[in-house]
Symmetry: C2
Subunit: 187 residues, 2 copies
DNA sequence: GATCTTCTAAACTGATCGGTCTATTAACGA
DNA sequence: TCGTTAATAGACCGATCAGTTTAGAAGATC
């Protein structure tokens, strides 16, 4: 089955990192080929739809990763344990704030309009999964919804501030604060 | 003194809106001329340094606005009143979450490296001004620092989420939550 | 090893990029 | 009214853009 060293999934991961670093508009084909070391031939072989398809598949790939690593555990496993693992997963995925949220970044400019369904789905799913875990953990409905929203907002804001201030500590500090707040609510 | 209908300050405001909507890389000169109705001749007359100068002057202009409308009041006026006004100013400036924070958006991709001093300065000043007001309001040092950081993080995160979810209510709800938290700390 | 498919390399295309230049118009001070 | 300067319009420039094409290398299947 494996026909070469590079599979499409590898190409997706490499391209994702370029979009993360440069944004959708900033990621020109020449930057993508330079940073991934993949030729245009390879890229257009995997993604005949060009840049837009690349971004769409990158986002689908990120979404799928979060579903298996975070959303499904939140929905199916013991709430306290799943939420505890969510903080670890978040910290390691975003590399303690060094890595940006590609989907959050796409949401800010008119790039959003191209991918609004995927962007909305990702954040909606995250909040719903976390809210559900809080509810199963005994947190009342209105508070669970509020806390889940606050957590996702805090993560996104902390990513922005970490890069803006070039501060290595603010992301971890924010995760700790949010974690404590959710644990308090869970009793 | 006034030599024409359009002054440079008008051009800055128009160009700012284009950067806000499209991001730095997404704001091509043709988009800027189309959306501002300013010809290349006018733009390069005001900004001989091109796109980079436009962005730099836009950021300086935003920073100056926040200094007079928010940071200086926080530093000089009665803390509780200044903080109360901060929430109003924030809500109206970001148009209840419909408008993005240009400086926060620039922080996310490699655009940050061009403007890192201005970006860092803006957020640092905001947090410091708010922290100072909380301190003068009687909040203990460590808590004031934490709350100020939390407020700015919450604002940035809420802007991201408001656009991502296309939700009209999340920004106002977040401001109310943060406002309540700071007022509780102020006693 | 022959053959067939997948994948890669890079030359090439027309369109658009950021930026320059020249000609012209508008607003001012005298 | 005249001369000077600020401001505008848009043709134009080389470079780079996203995307296409063609030819060949690398694997897989037999």
């Amino acid at each position: 089955m494996v026909r070469s060293v590079f599979e499409k999934s590898d190409a997706i991961a490499l391209v994702a990192e370029v979009f993360r670093e440069l944004g959708y508009e900033g990621a020109s084909m020449s930057e993508i080929t330079a940073r991934t070391k993949l030729s245009k031939g390879s890229l257009y072989h995997f993604f005949p739809g060009g840049k837009e398809q690349m971004a769409a598949e990158v986002m689908a790939n990120i979404d799928a990763w979060f579903v298996t690593e975070m959303f499904r555990p939140l929905e199916e496993e013991e709430p306290r344990a799943a939420i505890a693992r969510m903080w670890e997963t978040t910290d390691s995925y975003f590399r303690s704030g060094h890595r940006v949220c590609l989907i959050g970044a796409f949401a800010l400019d008119e790039t959003r309009d191209r991918f609004s369904t995927a962007i909305r789905g990702y954040f909606h799913h995250w909040i719903e999964a976390l809210c559900g875990a809080l509810l199963r953990g005994g947190v009342p409905g209105a508070e669970a919804k509020m806390l889940a929203e606050e957590a996702v907002i805090g993560i996104q804001g902390a990513l922005t501030l970490a890069r803006a201030l070039e501060d290595e500590t603010v992301f971890g500090r924010t995760l700790a604060r949010l974690k404590h707040r959710l644990e308090t609510a869970l009793g």
